[in-house]
């Protein structure tokens, strides 16, 4: 049993990872043999203004999107839990954005943000809120808002569904005991719900951090990293440099800048999971 599992782990995880790691230490271009350059690619990236921009973009994109998903997801889960069985249809509908392939939904959003045919702008104009329309993908600030909005829209159902499962697993007796001690709804939420939900909250936030920082499709379809490189993330810039630009070694180095974030997130996730096992 250990043999096949080891082979799968080595073949599908370890080998590609170490191969990418090695590639990032070479000046390899597609179709040409590369030579070892040590940390040359990483150093060059620190002088690359587009990469530094992508680094800032990734931090902003990840922090804002994950924070909104966590807060809104928790709020949504609490609301759904309060509605109970009456929200069964809503719960099913909620999952739609998450189960539809991201490339399809991103294309739908792209159409909704279209400068000329944006249905969002049409609605804003119709209700008299915005005469000129919002330059969704033409202005760097609005473009950031747009890509974060789509990421949140897509990720929110996952957060809400997992949080809802967590909420429903909290025994009613805890709330009854809190109520007996004179706690109101807010105090119950702060003193009972949040502490008991902490492991699942942390797990989902860490998982989402990994997925959000590595996002590709939403950016690639909506903005291709523009305008003014303000929406480039690691993956889109790596694609541009590594595959379109054929510098596969440099492209691997761009992606590996994510590595520390991923390692920390993975370590913390494993710790939380282990703690859960210990408690269990």
């Amino acid at each position: 049993m250990v043999g096949p599992v080891g082979l799968v782990v080595f073949g599908l995880i370890a080998y590609p990872l170490f191969s990418a790691l090695y590639m990032s230490l070479t000046d390899k271009a597609i179709g040409a043999a590369g030579s070892f350059v040590g940390l040359g690619n990483f150093a060059a990236l620190l002088r690359d203004s587009i990469f530094l921009q992508a680094l800032r973009n990734a931090a902003l994109y990840t922090i804002v999107a994950v924070a909104i998903k966590a807060v809104a997801g928790l709020g949504l889960a609490v609301a759904l839990a309060a509605l109970g069985e009456r929200a069964a249809v809503l719960r099913a509908l909620l999952l739609l954005p998450w189960v539809v392939p991201v490339s399809i939904t991103a294309l739908a959003w792209w159409w909704m943000f279209d400068p000329m045919f944006s249905v969002i702008n049409w609605v804003l104009r119709a209700i008299g809120l915005q005469d000129a329309g919002i330059p969704w993908l033409a202005d760097s600030t609005w473009a950031r808002v747009a890509v974060i909005l789509v990421n949140v829209w897509r990720g929110l159902p996952f957060f809400a569904t997992v949080f809802l499962a967590g909420l429903l697993s909290i025994p009613r007796e805890f709330y009854e005991a809190a109520e007996t001690d004179g706690a109101g709804p807010v105090q119950s939420f702060v003193r009972v719900t949040l502490p008991l939900m902490r492991p699942i909250l942390s797990l989902v936030v860490l998982y989402s951090t990994v997925m959000t920082v590595a996002d590709f499709e939403i950016i690639y379809i909506l903005t291709r990293g523009g305008p003014l490189n303000r929406t480039h993330l690691f993956a889109t810039y790596a694609f541009q440099v590594g595959l379109e630009g054929t510098l596969i070694g440099r492209g691997a180095a761009i992606v590996l800048w994510m590595f520390p974030v991923l390692v920390v997130a993975s370590y913390l996730t494993l710790r939380i999971v282990r703690r859960g096992e210990e408690y269990g």
């Binding site: 590609p16 033409a138 590595a214 305008p227 379109e244």
Partner: protein, 440 residues
């Protein structure tokens, strides 16, 4: 689209080869978190020649290409197929095939791809010379993209250039006929743009991170006498000419829709098809779609050269070449297919199927009756302006490709026109970015 690998007879894959290919593709998948893995090879039952081509803007071209390839295959007694890919899928597919050393026999190579993949491409000097003797000579831009280290590594097949597409009705309202618009220089164009803006039908030039933006911005840049790099690849963007080009676009920018900063390659098409736009830089695909879909705007569309600048009039283009992988098991058959596709009678049918969109890179293939008889194509082909590609006159290859895919020139213009940077700062930023890419 399914890929069928052309494998002659049986070929045993060694363990070393297996791990090399699997590892490379796995790493590539890990790199982008994006699935572009080549499907596992399947042995074809008979000799099969495969070709990779983009899914053409003008849909009627694809069946004609398939028909020609099938005709060729029947004549040679072999199997053949064309895989049509979305244009965005071509770079990762080429990369995967070059790394895995397996894939299609004939591949479509856009712009600088021949120079990027020359190590894996079969030299085609014999075929290039043969074609030059029979239907030549080659145009300068064909030699520029097809030859690497003085050897032909790909056969330039066709190009599609970027003149301006205009709505004649809007221009007529300000008293300008097509001939007048065709004769404009950038200075007079600015005055017309002001009037068109007042009528609610602004001109629009894409200044975003999309490939159409490369053509428009480079056309302005070149016509003001500026260049990004010289013939040796030295960065020469920091010049008075570049500053003048930027200052000009800064004056033009308020007369255009602000959305041009976020446009993609299809946005200018939609802008004209909606009937709002009066001028965009784009090939005849807008007109072709309008005509195929029988849209009323089709009758109002026409094409004119890009305006003249103080240092000339430039037409930017995208070249499509055909390459044969060195590792193809069907090199001679693949070369024969390329030769077949460039026969005058076949090229002529390709021009018709593309509604005149495909332009020749061999002089002997020019002069098709369609370009003479179709009124709206009279300024499209033959090209009277200087025909160049982004990065010209610098060396083709890695630096040109990196500057092209990073959109350095369009972003330089965007940063200046939005006021994010002053003209000089925007130029200095571009000089640094170009330097980092050409010096590598």
């Amino acid at each position: 689209m399914e890929q069928v690998l052309a494998i002659e007879g049986e070929r045993v894959i060694t363990r070393r080869e297996f791990f090399k290919v699997a590892g490379t593709l796995g790493a590539a998948a890990a790199l982008g978190g994006h699935s572009f893995l080549v499907r596992p090879a399947r042995a074809a039952p008979a000799r099969m020649v495969t070709m990779m081509h983009w899914s053409h803007f003008v849909p009627s071209f694809n069946p004609e290409l398939e028909r020609q390839v099938a005709t060729w295959a029947a004549q040679r007694g072999v199997g053949a197929r064309v895989d049509f890919l979305a244009i965005r899928d071509i770079p990762p597919r080429l990369a995967a095939e070059a790394e895995a050393r397996t894939g299609h026999d004939v591949v479509q190579l856009i712009l600088f791809d021949p120079a990027l993949y020359w190590r894996h491409l079969q030299p085609l000097d014999d075929l290039a010379l043969e074609l030059e003797r029979s239907v030549g000579p080659w145009m300068p831009v064909a030699k520029y993209v097809g030859k690497v280290h003085e050897k032909w590594v790909a056969i330039p097949w066709y190009h599609y250039s970027t003149p301006a597409t205009i709505n004649t009705e809007h221009w007529a309202r300000i008293g300008m006929g097509t001939a007048n618009v065709a004769a404009l220089d950038w200075s007079a164009f600015l005055e017309s743009a002001r009037e068109l803006h007042r009528t609610g039908h602004p001109v629009a030039m894409t200044i975003s991170q999309t490939f159409d933006a490369q053509e428009g911005t480079h056309s302005v840049l070149y016509s003001f006498g500026a260049r990004a790099v010289d013939e040796k690849g030295n960065v020469v963007i920091d010049s008075q000419e570049t500053a003048e080009a930027i200052e000009y676009v800064k004056r033009l920018f308020p007369l255009m829709p602000r959305e041009i900063l976020g446009w993609d390659d299809a946005s200018n098409n939609r802008y004209m098809l909606s009937g709002v736009g009066s001028w965009v830089h784009n090939g005849p695909s807008i007109w072709a779609v309008a005509r195929l879909q029988k849209l009323p705007v089709a009758e109002k569309l026409d094409h004119v050269p890009m305006p003249r600048g103080p240092k000339g009039r430039f037409r930017l283009t995208r070249t499509l070449s055909l390459g044969v992988w060195r590792f193809s098991p069907n090199i001679e058959l693949a070369k024969d297919l390329v030769r077949f596709l460039l026969r005058p009678e076949n090229f002529s049918r390709q021009v018709e199927a593309s509604m005149g969109y495909n332009q020749p890179l061999l002089r002997g293939l020019s002069g098709h009756r369609l370009w003479r008889e179709e009124r709206v194509l009279r300024f499209y082909e033959p090209v009277r302006e200087e025909l160049v590609v982004p990065g010209w006159p610098g060396p083709v290859g890695e630096g040109a490709q990196l500057a092209y895919t990073a959109f350095i020139i369009p972003v330089m213009f965007a940063r200046a026109v939005t006021g994010e940077l002053g003209t000089k700062e925007a130029i200095r930023w571009a000089a640094r970015e170009l330097g980092a890419r050409y010096r590598r």
